[in-house]
Amino acid sequence: MKSVETRIEKDSMGEMAVPKDALYGASTQRAVLNFPISGYHFSRPFIRALGLIKWGAAQANHDLGLLDARRSALIVQAAEEVIEGKLDQHFPVDIFQTGSGTSTNTNANEVIANRCAQLAGKPIGSRDPVHPNDHVNMGQSSNDVIPSAIHMSAAEQLKDCLLPALEKLSSALSGKAKEFHHIIKIGRTHLMDATPVRLGQEFAGYAQQMEYGKIRAFASAHRHRIFRRTQSFRGARQQGRGGGSERSIKDDCHESIQDRQRYSLARQRAALRYWRNSITGDATGQFDHARESEPGDVRIDDDGVRASFRR
């Protein structure tokens, strides 16, 4: 194996030699060395989802007055690059890693922080001006980020990849059903002759199978979105940390991410305000789903999901 030039990075556990041109840091490098298992890496849709989460969090934290404008803007810019796939080569950690996916969350934090350093004209590894934990990961836990990323990327891939393919297949089979309607052939039972059936009827059966497949895929995508919304609360509560109410708000920054993909910026801000307002004063971070929304606020609910699928 040819040797790679390295630089020294530090994390809370000490120093590590990291490839010179890598945007990740010491913690990620530890994971790379600890998990030489499969060579499988997280795929593009998953990394896009990670970028979206960091993007949304930086905006939410800034809106809440917890993160200054400069750092927020830098993180947003770096996260955009993650979203667009420009930094995929900096996500080397194996799939078979810490079961919570913490290694990959840390990977994202370090890559974004180091990219921010570059954008600000500072050295990689300096954690200046953006710190991977304090700023990129502000208000988050891997137990929010990773399950959210799983559900977001699965829902997106179902919508963009599988559902259109099933639609095309179903359509093509329906077309054949019509084309072959006039053709009579022998039916089969246990591979033996049975009574006649139209060739078109057989293809209509296949087409219907694809329709059922579409329904199942759509229902799955729907559940991904629901689980993503509720799971982020569970993650925050499980950590049992203080400042729970702020973390719950920021978990709901994920709603702003869906907004980004579907609505304008103004509605995105409105959605954040809605969530923030609904848990004002709730120090334990328990979110009351049944609370009434304020008039005029944006409601992100299941109809929104259905509407986006219809689009």
């Binding site: 499988y40 795929s43 799939i95 799983i150 002759d193």
Partner: protein
């Protein structure tokens, strides 16, 4: 078919991973992420390929379809309501023995008048619910 085999395996992985964890926390999430995204990607790609490279170009061999229907002993099914199950079964056995079609045997034995025979052995009638031959078998 291989994609299906793979996806069945991915599904089993996800089931097992989802069922495991310590107390309130699942600790097999990355492998679930990998498998669900793989399954979606593979199924989407193969559905597209199957549609474009196979389904849209399927052509039917109409002549062969018609021929196989005519040669089939299953045609007696629609005779049974008219001539009784036992006689229909005899015709089927003779067809199997001699290689003659059901129609030919019916004509030889004057089982039905020609126009009745046409109607009884019309395969189109057997392709919809309540058509001739339903209740056979």
């Amino acid at each position: 078919m291989m994609v299906c085999a793979q996806v069945f395996g991915d599904d089993a992985t996800i089931i097992w991973a989802g069922a495991n964890g310590n107390f309130e926390l699942n600790v097999l999430m990355p492998v679930m992420a990998h498998n669900i995204l793989e399954s979606i990607r593979l199924l989407g790609n193969v559905a597209d390929a199957f549609t474009e490279k196979c389904v849209v170009g399927i052509e039917a061999n109409e002549e062969r379809c018609r021929e196989l229907v005519e040669l089939s002993m299953a045609m007696v099914t629609s005779l049974a309501p008219k001539i009784g199950y036992d006689r229909a079964a005899e015709i089927a056995k003779e067809s199997a023995r001699t290689g003659k079609t059901v129609r030919e045997i019916c004509r030889e034995k004057n089982v039905l008048l020609e126009n009745e025979l046409e109607g009884a052995l019309d395969p189109v009638g057997m392709t919809h619910p309540g058509g001739t031959g339903s209740g056979g078998g």
